[in-house]
């Protein structure tokens, strides 16, 4: 580097060297986790209902529930002939709408949903089912520009919490199956829609 000892302004070469220094550097990934954890502990980032649910002391219980539900779904999926679509039956989707509030019976509810799914699977009527995460992305196209923005349901609004894909002869049977879902008992709403084969 050309040192400019007499004039205390920067020489052009010095300016160039300064301009060439990096402006960005990535910290360790652990820093991000640490900061988010601290912000949550201070209440500056709100935890979603699902995150609150999966905090101690419910965590151990929640893991047991997940294991049970997974087992329930797996049992239905792999042991039931209904895992193969029956071409003689219509397919319906049950969209489970719920509010964001979490009650103290949440763990019991999840177990009950798992047992219900297992029962439906045993009658060869269950095709699939899943609980949805609370966070997501909303995508739309505005003036030919794709906009993707983060989506997180408000606690006081209804949102999609999960779904079941079932098979039935017709709407009457589908309604009968859906009406036995424990989601209704707990104040949730089930939107039942037939899959259009065309």
């Amino acid at each position: 580097m050309n040192l400019n000892k007499n004039d205390n302004g920067l020489s052009s070469e010095e300016r160039e060297k300064f301009a060439g220094l990096s402006r960005q550097r990535q910290p360790s990934p652990a820093l991000e986790t640490r900061i988010i954890s601290l912000l949550k502990s201070k209440g500056l980032i709100l935890m979603t209902p699902s995150q609150r649910f999966f905090t101690a002391p419910r965590l151990a219980g929640a893991f047991a529930v997940i294991a049970l539900v997974t087992f329930g779904f797996s049992l239905g999926k792999w042991q039931s002939p209904a895992s193969q679509p029956d071409p003689g039956l219509e397919t319906f989707i049950m969209l489970l709408h719920e509010s964001g509030s979490v009650d103290e019976h949440e763990a019991d509810k999840v177990i009950e949903y798992g047992k219900w799914a297992q029962t439906i699977a045993q009658t060869n009527r269950l095709r699939a089912g899943a609980k949805l995460r609370y966070d997501g992305q909303l995508l739309r196209r505005i003036d030919e520009q794709l906009e993707a923005r983060p989506f997180a349901p408000r606690e006081d609004s209804n949102h999609l919490g999960g779904y079941f894909l079932i098979q039935a002869r017709d709407y009457d049977e589908a309604v009968k199956i859906a009406s036995s879902c424990p989601h209704l008992k707990y104040g949730g709403m089930v939107e039942l829609r037939q899959i259009d084969k065309t």
Binding site: M1, K5, P27, L38, K40, L44, I45
Partner: protein, 190 residues
Amino acid sequence: MQIITEYLAQLKDRRLVGNFLARRDEHSFRVLYHRHTPALYQLALRLVGWNFQEAEEIVQDTWLRTVEALAEFRWESGFRTWLSGILINRSREFYRARKKERHAIIADEMAAEVAVAENFDRIDLEQAIAALPNGYRQVLVLHDIEGYTHEEIGRLLEIDAGTSKSQLSHARRAMRDSLQAHTTGNTMRR
């Protein structure tokens, strides 16, 4: 062109901050974090003389303070400028708490990391800056690398603009002496 770029960046920051304030959710925060943290971390590293642990602590405190005060931010400056101001204040408090002047020496790990991406001229320059006394280093980093004016530095560091100019003059001289000594040493060793 620069003004347009800054204006668009400012618009995007306003939208992202608005998203976060509306939801207070983790995802919105992560978007802001990834947008600004690499620049904040680089600035923190230079201000503390490439001590990685201290730089991360300062960045962490900067984000905590930022989120605490975010709702009160009036957008009278750019969001990055505001963040940098908080970070600079935090780094000053950091040194004040330790009540000692640190003549930072770039660690071997830093030299190794920088060497991967940058040429040796730049390593020499970073080392010379890092070895400056704290007051000199802050002014030189803010003025010659970050582009702040002496008036802005004066406000950020709570010193007169004249003191900032004087510190910068001393800092540049010390940096050049350090580089000259390094160059001479290298020549003599050859």
